[in-house]
Symmetry: C2
Subunit: 330 residues, 2 copies
Amino acid sequence: MKSRPSINAVAERAGVSIATVSRVVNKSKPVNEPTRRRVEQAIAELGFRTNAAGRSLAMAQSHLLLVLVPDFSNPFYAQIVQGVESVTRAAGYKLVLADTTEGDAPQSTALDALYNRLADGVINLAHLDDDAALLGELQNLAWVNCSEFLPDAGLPYVSIDHRQAAIDAVQYLLNRGHRRIGLINADETYRWARSRHEGYELAMRRAGLEVTPDLVRVAASTDYEAGAQAAGGLLALVDPPTAVFAVSDTLAIGAIKAFRRAGRRVPEDIAVVGFDDLPLSAVFEPALTTIGQPMRELGATAAEILLARLQGQRPASRTLAHRLVVRDSA
Amino acid sequence: MKSRPSINAVAERAGVSIATVSRVVNKSKPVNEPTRRRVEQAIAELGFRTNAAGRSLAMAQSHLLLVLVPDFSNPFYAQIVQGVESVTRAAGYKLVLADTTEGDAPQSTALDALYNRLADGVINLAHLDDDAALLGELQNLAWVNCSEFLPDAGLPYVSIDHRQAAIDAVQYLLNRGHRRIGLINADETYRWARSRHEGYELAMRRAGLEVTPDLVRVAASTDYEAGAQAAGGLLALVDPPTAVFAVSDTLAIGAIKAFRRAGRRVPEDIAVVGFDDLPLSAVFEPALTTIGQPMRELGATAAEILLARLQGQRPASRTLAHRLVVRDSA
DNA sequence: CTGAAAGCGCTAACAG
DNA sequence: CTGTTAGCGCTTTCAG
């Protein structure tokens, strides 16, 4: 791996100063046609590429953005990341991704990267501790939360209205005549999980229904098996629900599996509404009735906000529209 | 965003030289206990973090690795990336991910990053053109291919034996008495697609069966819908197959959907075996019989090879074991 | 339009 | 054990 030519080599070969080379490379200032040509030729001959570290050091920015992802293999997050990338790539930024499942506290990785100047900004999809000191510190950094956020933290975010979405889901079930409706929730350290729980209770109360704790199950994770487990708990009740709202499609699918194994038909014996509208959810049988989130748009919007922030603006948070997708499971 | 303190500020505050600060930060050389303490205190007071660009420039390495992913939202790749991260994070490297679906030629992005010195090495999951010049150039770079690779390119790779895996899948079907077996393949610019096709034909021939072109369908992509389309073509034959080998689980699921819509039962009327063993495949109904690939291990091994290469070694390519997972679809 | 020169923040000899 | 110093490769005034 022979060392790459530096800007000095190019300058020497073209018989100009390094400043001029820099100008033609970046098109930052006019350069006479003949000299520019000489420089360009030298660049071509030498196969020169500008060194990222040198540039970062001089410009005090890396053109790298950090994305904190709770779990790569969850298609929900993957699609958000695609949305992010579609806009950042156009702006000349590359993405450093960190999976926060393993390893140390997510925000510390992120702050490291930021303070290091490794990354110019971060898009956070992971859970953020409600820690005043931390939040204060984030205030003036290029940081945007996506999907997961703290309502009054003063940090810009992009998300749907989780509570309203949950209300819509439960209301749909109510409209279909269900009265005993169970909730399969995710770990409530997630803000969205709490919001959806709120929405569920609100919708039930508005319908004059009492919410008993036994109708609410918290799954151990968001994978299929966890959904199945939670569903098992619901089934074990003396008076099991006739419908279930699961806060993610993976949970919903796991639940449906469990219901089936127990000899229940979906939706005839028990209706199930999911959340997210993953690609898979349309394909699963029965196709899932679910709340659709605009994943790519969430990511793209978060990226736009971050980019604007990097240019010194202070864009407002955005709440994007969700939609109820009615299919076969409820 | 006030500017962060540099190593100079720390040195001044602690009353030592920047060299000493560097030594305590990196624990690179012994430093007297009292001085080290003074330095550490200064670091703490100032909130100093070493600047990534400065360090990269001085050390001529970035501790960043590029991963080229054909499609983030495909869980197959996502899991490989998790495997990669599990080992690179332990070694102090961060991952820059690029989705190669959109945008320019994947390898050019990668070479850019490498020549830029943005990344120290790359793990490539994407298709690589069989271009002699390019391949020659890659020879001496820290580059490893994962899952997708060119057999005689001289580049290190980690993969399963795609051909043998296909043979195993088809043989299973043969053993169950099937004689008319269809193949739903992916775009054959993918090397693995060609290998699996080979395996299919080989297994058929060994069984004394003729392979007619009408039994082989190439799906437009690897998503569900493409699988359904291809399946439709098979169904339209005067003499439709009694079994189908689909080269990915997503394709297999799409095919099953199509068969069902056409009133066929799976596996009774038509058996289907997939490939990959995605998490979803165990949950889908009927649960998929499929070839399992060790995704995380593929990624982890690729990372290990790359890391070794970065230390000047030239580790050999690795072929990992696949396994036939028998469930309900065949 | 072009060049000289001063850094950006850090590491790594080389002395002492 | 610690300081001095010379870069690493590039951008950006400041002169001319």
